[in-house]
Symmetry: C2
Subunit: 224 residues, 2 copies
């Protein structure tokens, strides 16, 4: 297996990120590439969820993964070993989020002509990534049970910008004071259209529901 | 009980945060006030840990708490109900961290002449708060077991700037693939001087060790 690719992302110089993100989405549409931006707090289970998701999708879609982190290549290495799909590590040089230009630097390292779906695993952070449009077609986030059901009250923007919220680590629900109903209520107060899907990435429970949602999104977008 | 105070923090205009933080530390020293900055990812148990800590300390020290959040007053309310100490909510207006000037805006709302110890519960975020000196005498952080023992590899700066790392939620250790030894090794590779204290804020286990550490810090600093 060839060496793992680690891309050192440079700080974006674009003043108007929203325009840049729209331009990137248009370019991706022309190339037939669907970009999903996955966000969460540190340790919510993004990588494990993606491994489960990609292993269910890779027979029907050609997938590339970009793992953004301040440091280390733990995630890209794990992803490649567990799924075999093309996986690159983006180092943000201390930065707390990716914007459209930084996302583009990652995409340039993938072979987009041979890819249907790119998944960006954003920096683990519930604040800053919510403020920057990466150029993704859809935003997804994970809230894990141990973090608590009150997080939509404290990080409202993140829950507002996401099309789907995965509630992960449902297997440990009995050990935490977490109400799925209360959590859904808080999410829908901020974002009535958000899909909420409970999953357990460790066992794979519920992941099929997310996989179907993602397949539908990719198909609808290609037909537009 | 009087109405809960919510302070809307304004963006800092100080160009040189390090100088400003040093100046704030000096002012606090003159007033005999010790400032602790507590950081962690969202949902690691900062508020619960502080409630346990403050209920053990409030007989010997006069304590004030500043709860920083993007939105909501959940934490300040909970803190005041559970401890009775003066507790104010700082709204950061979407900002992902506090710097020294923003911290000062919060301190201005406390009666520092009647306070020995102020604890700042920073925004739940492992990235940005590590980059800004708040003027605190000591930095503390919480890493909770469900987040995983690899977090020092991914958020090295946060672990480097903290004097003490509390490993919280040890009660759920059997349900997660978390090695305390491996975690300590990763922390000490980045910060050999960091104290690592395992706790369970829910049951109070280990909190006495942190309380003793904090008492020692306050006493040493006052005698300097």
């Amino acid at each position: 297996m060839d060496a793992l690719r680690v891309i050192e992302i440079k700080k974006s110089v674009f003043a108007d990120n929203d325009n840049d993100a729209d331009a990137l989405r248009k370019e991706l549409k022309e190339k037939g590439v669907f970009l999903l931006n996955l966000m969460s707090a540190p340790g919510s289970g993004k990588t494990t969820t993606l491994i489960q998701t990609i292993n269910r999708l890779k027979a029907s879609l050609r997938i590339g993964v970009m793992e953004a982190d301040i440091d280390s290549d733990v995630d890209a290495r794990k992803m490649r070993e567990a799924t075999g799909v093309e996986s690159i590590q983006l180092h943000t040089g201390g930065m707390c989020h990716l914007d459209a230009e930084m996302t583009r630097q990652g995409l340039d390292a993938l072979d987009l002509n041979a890819t249907d779906l790119v998944i960006l695993e954003n920096v683990g952070n519930l604040v800053c990534p919510a403020e920057f449009d990466t150029g993704a077609v859809r935003n997804a986030m994970i809230l894990s049970v141990p973090e608590g059901d009150d997080k939509p009250l404290k990080y409202p923007l993140m829950f507002s910008v996401c099309d789907v919220v995965l509630i992960n680590k449902t297997d440990v629900m009995p050990y935490f004071d977490f109400s799925l109903e209360r959590c859904k209520k808080y999410i829908h107060e901020r974002n009535p259209k958000a899909q909420v899907i409970p999953i357990c990435a460790k066992t794979g429970e519920g992941v099929d529901v997310f996989v179907q949602w993602l397949k539908d999104q990719v198909n609808n977008w290609k037909q537009k």
